[in-house]
């Protein structure tokens, strides 16, 4: 990796200027990618935590001017110092670069930069002038030369606005803005901001795995903003007031016919974006209702079905047709769709249960029910095995937790969960684990199933062995190892494996050039979602493996944009935004160690919940939403962590 000449990123000053390369100190706080895109090197970065300089060719004065100009463009105008002060600084730097500067300018902008950074209302103003102060301190000679009239060569730059939450969100919702709208009581505007990208705010606002909240800067002070429930609040508010969204349709130059396989989150999000660009969309769905796993996997007490149906209905109003109970591969061939449509989007999810590789699982015992099937039945109002009363669910993810929590709700009496590592390693959401505990699920940690026991073809128990944690494996989690001689049996009449799902690829028969991996996922170009068959695109769980709703939606959205380009004969290539996403994922927008320098002391507002003893036996929604007052007060906690990055490229 090409060496860094100077870095002030995150308070760590490394100055290698004038040193021999072998004496260069390394930079610990940031890893600056070498290339922005092919053939475009990154020579310097200026942004919220400082300056990183790789190439001596970069003129720091011009870099600062470009950056401060961008900061000014992104200033929201809602506080005096940032609105006017960054304009004054950008103008002054502009004069310096044109050779019209005065020595007094330097002191002037330094003082102003300090005032803006110390007192601005949000992070644009707080972080914006910070690297300028670093530059004035460490590159004083360059500034003095410019003020003395030395020529300042102009470089080539790229700038982008981001925020920690926004960057972490797979679909990159403009979270600070939608939260700010709520704070100001502009609920409809807030929804419009969300719907720019995501057509399922009510669904995602209930069950999202919320990577944004894990990257929320407010957590450095007290607790993360309740981003998910704020999204739910605006969606519910619209529904409760009998309003319907007004979607704008802006037809592309050329519009076409697109077939979508699967009405899950990926499929409907893709349909929504295509329809808004004027394309004619037809969805083929195997089941009798929309939503995919969010309808037949996620139980009603977490996501009431009518919310999902309503949001899909709204998408249908855009002219999207859905053929239910139509399985592609059986009822209609994929090759037929390929022939009949201009493009096909495959979003079939991951619906086959993975095997546990234990004795007896393939024997067809009554009472042995794969997790996905178990939930599908329950969500269709069927008790999968009325005879059984004692349940053991195997697995540590959200699917496993859904299986145990649903079991009480269909009248099962004794409910157990078996997981081979400890609670700490469970991939399930902490909140879900907590709620399941409150509902009195028996957790068996460090326990591995080894044999399904049966009598007369019916399950009677699950033989397990105790585990202990050994050395960390490649995922960084400590590998569980069996404790010899510790076998024991859990009596039960239902065993539900919920350790993962795989993808049923049988529909691909008869189409060319759609490659798959050894994990049974469909291979696509990550930037365009196109398979090697130019007409066929794919995203969602069938591309990534079992994942999260929002990731599936993000994939569907990206596919829609590229299908639109494909129909319009435009080249399918990564966009500047795609490259910035990759850039940010390496540079890291959120630093959990950052000292924010404010006082906190304002914990998040909690949702009211049904009490465990009541909720445990019903499918009624457990979490009750925010009131408008609570939502506004919660939104008021947001620090509006927008920040700008400018890179010098060449």
């Amino acid at each position: 990796m090409a060496e860094i000449l100077f870095s002030s990123w995150g308070g760590e000053v490394v100055d290698n200027r004038g040193k021999e390369p072998q004496d260069f100190e390394t930079v610990g706080k940031v890893s600056l990618p070498e290339y922005f895109q092919q053939d475009e090197e990154i020579k310097a970065l200026i942004g919220w935590y400082g300056i990183v300089l790789r190439s001596a060719e970069v003129n720091v004065v011009d870099l600062c001017r470009t950056y401060m100009e961008e900061v000014q463009q992104q200033s929201c105008g809602k506080c005096f110092l940032c609105r006017i002060g960054t304009r004054v600084i950008a103008d002054t730097l502009g004069r310096l670069c044109r050779g019209q500067g005065r020595p007094a300018d330097l002191e002037l902008i330094a003082g102003l930069a300090e005032s803006i950074s110390e007192s601005s209302k949000c992070n644009i103003g707080q972080s914006g002038p910070l690297p300028l102060l670093h530059a004035l301190e460490h590159f004083a000679d360059d500034f003095a030369a410019a003020a003395g009239g030395a020529a300042v060569p102009a470089g080539k730059y790229r700038s982008r606005l981001t925020a920690p939450c926004m960057d972490a969100c797979p679909i990159h919702l403009d979270i600070p803005t939608y939260v700010e709208c709520i704070k100001e009581g502009k609920f409809q505007e807030s929804l419009e901001v969300i719907r720019e990208r995501l057509p399922l705010p009510g669904v995602v606002g209930r069950v999202c795995v919320r990577p944004c909240e894990e990257h929320c800067r407010r957590a450095n002070l007290d607790e993360a903003i309740s981003i998910k429930f704020l999204k739910r609040f605006v969606a519910d508010y619209e529904l409760d007031h009998g309003r319907e969204p007004e979607y704008q349709v802006v037809p592309s130059a050329k519009t076409g016919k697109v077939a979508i396989v699967g009405a899950g989150p990926a499929g409907v999000t893709c349909a929504y974006h295509l329809a808004r660009k004027g394309h004619q969309v037809t969805i083929y769905e195997r089941l009798g209702e929309p939503g995919g796993m969010s309808a037949v996997g996620i139980p009603d007490y977490r996501l009431p079905r009518q919310i999902l149906r309503h949001e899909v209905e709204m998408i249908q109003k855009l002219g999207v047709t859905i053929h239910y109970n139509t399985e592609v591969g059986k009822d209609v061939k994929l090759s037929q769709l390929e022939a009949d449509f201009d493009a096909v989007f495959v979003a079939i999810g991951a619906h086959l249960s993975s095997s546990m590789r234990v004795e007896g699982e393939d024997a067809g015992y009554q009472g042995f029910i794969p997790g996905v099937k178990y939930l599908l039945d329950i969500n269709s109002g069927i008790d999968p095995y009325p005879e059984g009363k004692k349940v053991v669910v195997v697995g540590g993810g959200n699917v496993a937790i859904d299986c145990v929590r649903c079991s009480f709700r269909i009248g099962k009496e004794d409910v157990n969960l078996v997981y081979r590592r400890t609670e700490k390693e469970m991939p399930a959401d902490d909140v879900e684990i907590h709620d399941a505990k409150e509902e009195k699920v028996n957790f068996h940690f460090l326990t591995q199933p080894i044999k399904v026991l049966a009598e007369n073809g019916k399950v009677v128990g699950l033989e397990c062995i105790k585990m202990q944690l050994g050395e960390p494996d490649e995922s960084g989690r400590r590998r569980p190892e069996p404790v010899e001689g510790s076998e024991f049996v859990i009596d039960c009449d239902i065993v539900v494996p919920a350790i993962g799902q795989t993808i049923d690829l049988s529909l691909l028969e008869g189409v060319d050039n759609v490659k798959t991996t050894r994990w049974h996922t469909i291979v696509v170009n990550e930037d365009t979602k196109q398979t090697e068959n130019p007409k066929i695109f794919s995203a969602g769980d069938c591309e990534t493996g079992p994942g999260a709703l929002i990731t599936a939606c993000a994939g569907g959205r990206k596919a829609a944009f590229n299908i639109d380009k494909f129909i319009n004969d435009e080249p399918l290539v990564a966009t500047e935004n795609d490259y910035f996403d990759k850039f940010f994922s390496q540079v890291k927008v959120y630093d959990p160690q950052e000292e924010i320098g404010f006082i906190g002391g304002r914990p998040r507002y909690q949702l009211k919940m049904l009490p465990p003893d009541t909720r445990k036996y019903t499918f009624d929604e457990v979490e009750q939403g925010f009131s408008p007052q609570e939502a506004m007060a919660e939104a008021d906690r947001c620090l509006r962590c927008y920040r700008v990055a400018t890179i010098a490229v060449g």
């Binding site: 929201c76 110092l81 304009r87 004054v88 007192s119 006082i599 002391g601």
Partner: protein, 345 residues
């Protein structure tokens, strides 16, 4: 209760109180510009920044709730520098047209610039391009004078629940614009809260200086609500209507009629005495004569054609009690159910 110290003084306030309010309760004053008692804190001016021990960043006192045990400093060199910079940046382009500004003399910006002794501004940048013409026949907007404190936007949304105006655009070019023409009712709530002369009344422009007018408290006569207002009187003419923050049932708010419908008071055409038509011509009469005439006429109509030949129409400008009495009069005295009300039509 939360305990904290402000400038070394121990203060105890209920949880949720802002630092600004806590300071005020202890008799410590912190300069503010965008803060307005009837609005949720806005946080746009940053005049109220204070330092909190252990925190690197100054924080706005108006938007920050108190936290147990903190120690707040409301004045320091650093805070003064920030406050002065905030004002100076406003002055980069705020016109110094105080001599012809209706707000001259009661302008918060003027007061603060005076208080901080800002006699020169070393910062420069050209004027922002502001195309906005937010104005109605009654309200005048002076974009150059607007400091974008956002009090008006907040009042329109929070007090009136309307949201007809909002901030649009980015950076230096952002401006206050009407986002929905149809929603604006010209109630003037915006100009009531404007700390500068950016929003003024179109009717009373250049008619009187604030320090010369006499403010006469009275009750609005337009409806039965009983809003409290102040007539701004100069040489026995009403120049404008203002309110006192938090006063009366209206707490300082008015509607378009109450705020702007005062010109009739000094109108030449206004009737101030009853008139009785005699020989085809109106002549001034006493109230006693006029009322007796009306009573006589009612009586004779009732005798000739029965009580149902008479109908009564009451007014929304009366109180509920007056309207009650009126229908009672029509039913019990005149003897008819023919009674109605203009607000019902």
């Amino acid at each position: 209760m939360v305990k904290l110290t402000i400038d070394g003084k121990e203060v105890k306030v209920p949880a949720g109180t802002t630092i600004l309010a806590a300071a005020k309760s202890a008799g410590i004053s912190i300069p503010t510009l965008c803060f307005h008692g009837r609005l949720d804190p806005i946080g746009s001016c940053r005049m109220c920044v204070v330092e909190i021990e252990g925190c690197a960043h100054p924080m706005a006192a108006c938007t920050t709730p108190v936290v147990e045990g903190i120690s707040v400093t409301t004045n320091s060199e650093r805070l003064q520098r920030i406050r002065k910079d905030s004002l100076k940046l406003i002055l980069v382009n705020h016109p110094l047209d105080c001599p012809i500004c209706d707000k001259g003399g009661e302008c918060l910006l003027q007061d603060l610039v005076y208080e901080f002794g800002i006699d020169r501004v070393e910062y420069q940048t050209p004027k922002p391009e502001r195309s906005s013409q937010y104005a109605t026949p009654l309200i005048r907007y002076w974009p150059d004078r607007c400091i974008m404190c956002l009090r008006c936007v907040t009042a329109c949304r929070e007090i009136k629940g309307i949201g007809a105006i909002d901030i649009k655009g980015a950076g230096y070019g952002s401006q206050v614009v009407v986002i929905d023409e149809d929603k604006c009712q010209s109630c003037g709530e915006c100009l009531q809260v404007c700390p500068t002369g950016a929003l003024t009344e179109n009717l009373s422009r250049y008619k009187g200086r604030p320090w010369l007018v006499k403010r006469v408290p009275t009750t609005c006569t337009y409806c039965g609500c009983g809003c409290q207002l102040e007539l701004n009187v100069e040489q026995n003419r009403v120049m404008a209507v203002t309110t006192k923050e938090g006063k009366g049932v209206n707490r300082g708010s008015l509607c378009v009629k109450g705020r702007f419908g005062y010109e009739f008071i000094n109108s030449e055409e206004r009737l101030t005495k009853p008139l009785i038509k005699k020989d085809g011509e109106f002549r001034e009469a006493s109230w006693d004569d006029a009322l007796s005439l009306v009573a006589e006429k009612f009586k004779s109509i009732k005798e000739e054609s029965g009580p149902d030949a008479i109908a009564g129409l009451s007014s929304a400008r009366c109180t509920n009690e007056e309207n009650y009495l009126f229908q009672k009069f029509m039913r019990a005295v005149i003897g008819t159910n023919n009674v109605d009300h203009c607000a019902r039509l």
